[in-house]
């Protein structure tokens, strides 16, 4: 009895000691890394940041613009999702921008950014973004920070491997994330994936001067999934590299079934050759349907055109155009270094980072150093094209960016860190933790021939305890690290909108000088513009009522409108007559099942309204424009159908009625 008591006592004591010891081993948490060199991220009030940071908004569908090193948010550019704040997708002018072959799609998932380049260096003209859900690419004009064009990608399903760009912005690419049935036979059993599903990568031509996009050609590929991509640079500029997964061609439980093979692929595409094949008529024109939407800064309106044809190149008819390079375990990132010699593949589940050599790839192709074929496409021998492997870099490598000194920075999702390594000798030089679970990362100019360096920014998937809690849904975040020294140093955390995926940063001077301040009124070619208060009017066309309205500090014209009847649809075409910087006017009407308008100086925008009840409805300017902004308001009277109230409109002349209620019917002259 006594013996067993001692035994029990002893056991409990051990347990207690064990627990105390475990307590001591608990990680110290984030406090130890909260030091941050704030002075380096400090931009004094009224001072400009050094870089613009264009950050994808992920499931918000938008693109956000931050300053670096301050991390201050300047603007959220509406791209693929409606934005009632700016009237994007609500005004009649912007609705066509979100048109697709599936009709009006009000949302998407913007993952990647590509700044336009000339000679593989930033030129500050446009920034491209991809729609991951309903496949599209958007071009944003950096003069206006607005979406100028959206093109839908036919024969694609999930435009993830996009919109990476060639050395002189000749093309942005669009590789399909999902392989799908193509052509006429669309309704097939899902488990016939291996026979019926195909992939495509599309080359979207970009006009040198206007930036206008067109689907130049597509390459038909085996039914695998395309993940990310990068164009070559310098000697490899004529090539494009695409990471692929699911070479198992699984159609269900990909988590397991697409992780069976030891190696998947990076697909190397000789796009110059593909371009030649396309020009030489080796492609086949296929019937498709896709939308091409353009916004015009003179008419202040978008048009959407449905296109019906696409040129498809089949590798069977186009030899020496594409090759597969084996890459360990479902590669994600696929990044070329500034010299264009090295291609870094990042297998999400791999224990090493393979680095391929462009010179060796060319040699292997010349010597036909193949390791068999995959669906008729040559597979190059892994060892023959490998420059080397970075060993024990971390867990879950995703993406790699570069500085100008021959260093690479790779993000590791699983081990939640950035690892700096030397491209030449593949030695790990430094590592810093991220908080938490970094996805993409960005070095200013990192994907170009001329990285600006200075910082690396981590775009994290999880924030947990980094910020004040806001219920179950927490902010997403970015972290800024100083890379000017040998050691990477965390200097700032900043929250981001949506979910940040890829981002790029560019020196501010390259953008500021082109930034537009106003739209010139005399260049306004909107069909419903009112070029001055004298040109305002209200017109009835069938059961439509068109209000040609103007806004200037601090009144709208007309601000008293009567004679509109139920059953009619009202179009408010509001022209902002201001020609001064930073004086937008807003416009809203009570009860409208739409949104507001936000009209820039010199611009015309239209709000459509079908009133459902008779009465007098207030309307007002929503953007605090002046000392008398609150006075910038008016009324529109809606009368029952069949009433005989004459159509009247005025500002400042509809004087108080004197006597009888009948006087309210008295016309106000314009």
């Amino acid at each position: 009895m006594k013996h067993s008591f001692l035994k029990t006592f002893f056991a409990f004591s051990l347990l207690l000691i064990g627990l105390v010891w475990l307590q001591g081993c608990k990680p110290k948490g984030t406090q130890s890394a909260a030091g941050g060199d704030a002075a380096k991220a400090y931009v004094a009030p009224g001072k400009y940041d050094e870089f613009y940071n264009f950050v994808s908004g992920g499931f918000s569908g938008q693109m956000s613009v931050y300053g670096l090193p301050s991390g201050r948010l300047f603007r959220v550019i509406p791209v693929f999702s409606v934005d009632p704040e700016k009237g994007w997708g609500y005004s009649e002018e912007t609705k066509p921008m979100l048109n697709t072959s599936h009709g009006f799609v009000p949302w998407d998932d913007l993952h990647h950014i590509a700044l336009s380049v000339t000679g593989s260096e930033h030129d500050g003209r446009w920034v491209f973004g991809n729609a991951n859900n309903t496949p599209r690419i958007a071009r944003i004009d950096l003069k206006t920070f607005r979406t100028a064009e959206i093109i839908e990608i036919p024969n694609s399903a999930g435009n993830h491997s996009s919109p990476f760009i060639t050395e002189n912005s000749e093309y942005v690419v669009a590789g399909t994330r999902f392989s799908v049935p193509l052509g006429d036979k669309l309704d097939v059993p899902i488990n016939t994936y291996k026979e019926n599903f195909k992939g495509t990568i599309s080359f979207i031509g970009v006009d040198k001067t206007s930036g206008e996009m067109n689907v130049a050609f597509q390459i038909l590929t085996p039914g695998i999934n395309f993940d990310l991509a990068r164009a070559g640079k310098g000697k490899s500029a004529g090539w494009f590299f695409f990471s692929c997964y699911n070479s198992e061609k699984a159609n269900t439980l990909l988590e397991v079934n697409a992780s069976q093979k030891d190696k998947d692929f990076i697909m190397a595409v000789n796009w110059k050759k593909a371009e030649e094949y396309a020009k030489a008529g080796k492609g086949v024109k296929k019937a498709v349907r896709y939308a091409h939407n353009k916004y015009d800064d003179n008419t202040h309106s978008a048009t959407s055109t449905i296109m019906n044809e696409v040129l498809v190149l089949d590798p069977k008819d186009c030899p020496d155009m594409i090759y597969f390079m084996p890459c360990p375990k479902s590669p994600h990132g696929c990044d070329t270094d500034p010299t264009g010699e090295y291609i870094v593949g990042s297998g999400k589940l791999a224990a090493v980072i393979p680095v391929f050599s462009f010179t060796k790839i060319q040699e292997a192709i010349a010597k036909k150093n193949y390791d068999g074929e995959f669906d008729g496409i040559p597979v190059l021998k892994y060892e023959a094209v490998l420059h080397g492997e970075v060993s024990k870099p971390g867990l879950g490598p995703l993406h790699t960016e570069f500085d100008a000194n021959g260093n690479a920075y790779t993000s590791f999702f699983v081990s939640s860190e950035i690892v700096k390594w030397s491209v030449k000798d593949l030695k790990v030089l430094d590592r810093v933790p991220t908080y938490y679970s970094i996805g993409h990362l960005s070095v200013p100019g990192g994907p170009t021939k001329k990285p600006w360096g200075k910082y690396v920014i981590a775009y994290n998937k999880i924030t947990k305890d980094r910020y004040l809690p806001t219920g179950p849904e927490l902010t997403q975040s970015a972290q800024l690290y100083d890379i000017s020294g040998d050691k990477m140093k965390l200097i700032l955390d900043f929250p981001t909108i949506g979910e940040p995926h890829y981002a790029e940063a560019i020196p501010a001077d390259m953008i500021i000088k082109n930034s537009r301040k106003i739209f010139k009124l005399e260049e306004n070619k909107h069909p419903y513009v009112a070029m001055g208060e004298g040109k305002t009017k209200v017109e009835r066309k069938g059961n439509e009522v068109h209000v040609y309205m103007t806004a200037i500090r601090s009144h709208i014209t007309p601000d008293n409108i009567e004679g509109v009847k139920l059953g009619e649809t009202v179009y408010f075409h509001v022209t902002n007559l201001e020609q001064d910087w930073d004086v937008p006017h807003g416009f809203a009407v009570k009860g409208i099942s739409n949104a507001e308008l936000l009209i820039m100086p010199g611009e015309t925008q239209t709000l459509k309204w079908t009133p459902e009840k008779a009465g007098v409805y207030p309307m007002y300017c929503t953007d605090f424009c002046s000392a008398l902004h609150q006075e910038m308001q008016g009324y529109i009277r809606i009368s029952p159908a069949g009433s005989n109230v004459p159509l009247l409109f005025s500002t400042g002349t509809n004087l108080p009625a004197v006597t009888t209620p009948a006087a309210t019917e008295k016309p106000a002259t314009k």
Partner: protein, 196 residues
């Protein structure tokens, strides 16, 4: 006594009057306005035949205090000022050709009168704009007028207003100074000759 101007003087007078041609290509006067909301400033350039700069924006702001809308066709000066400048140039050339001392004296007197008249006219317009305000203006501060400064700086509500010659104006001033300089040099030279 030689009653003609020296060759140097004649060349200088010709140069001075010739320099006046620049006011056909350069603004004569400028008014700058700065406010907390306008750190970059608003500017109005006054030419001998018109106005340029942020006139529309300034008009937009002025309507709050009931100032008249500034427009070129309200100023008859813009119609005849080019002829006035032309006359001055012509007179300068006549002096250079004839070498007439009397004409130079007349020229100087006309410069003084012209300058004074221009400033008086400018003041009159400023007074009119600053005082004759629309009685139904949104912003009314009893006892306050908004006359811009004739020369230099003045605070008008939230605006700091500056009024100075523009490039063309400085050239006119320099040309006038040159004409006076010629007169002084001639006078000094003459006195020395007389002493001999």
């Amino acid at each position: 006594m030689n009653n003609k101007l020296s060759v140097t003087s004649r060349i200088l007078v010709a140069f001075a009057s010739g320099a006046l041609v620049t006011v056909f290509f350069l603004p004569a006067w400028r008014i700058d306005l700065f406010a907390p909301q306008y750190p970059e400033g608003l500017m109005m350039n006054i030419w001998i035949n018109g106005l340029t700069g942020d006139v529309d924006i300034i008009n937009g702001l002025n309507h709050y205090i009931g100032m008249k809308h500034i427009s070129v066709d309200m100023f008859p000066e813009f119609k005849f000022l080019p002829y006035v400048v032309g006359f001055y140039m012509l007179l300068g050339i006549v002096i250079a050709i004839t070498g007439s001392r009397k004409f130079l004296l007349l020229y100087l007197i006309l410069i003084v009168i012209g300058g004074a008249l221009a400033m008086y006219d400018f003041y009159q317009w400023g007074y009119d704009y600053g005082h004759n305000l629309d009685p139904s203006a949104a912003i009314q501060v009893p006892g306050l007028s908004y006359q811009p400064p004739l020369f230099g700086h003045k605070r008008l509500l939230n605006f700091d207003a500056y009024s100075f010659p523009d490039v063309g104006g400085w050239i006119v001033i320099a040309a006038s100074a040159l004409a006076f300089g010629v007169w002084l040099a001639e006078w000094y030279h003459q006195r020395k000759l007389n002493k001999k």
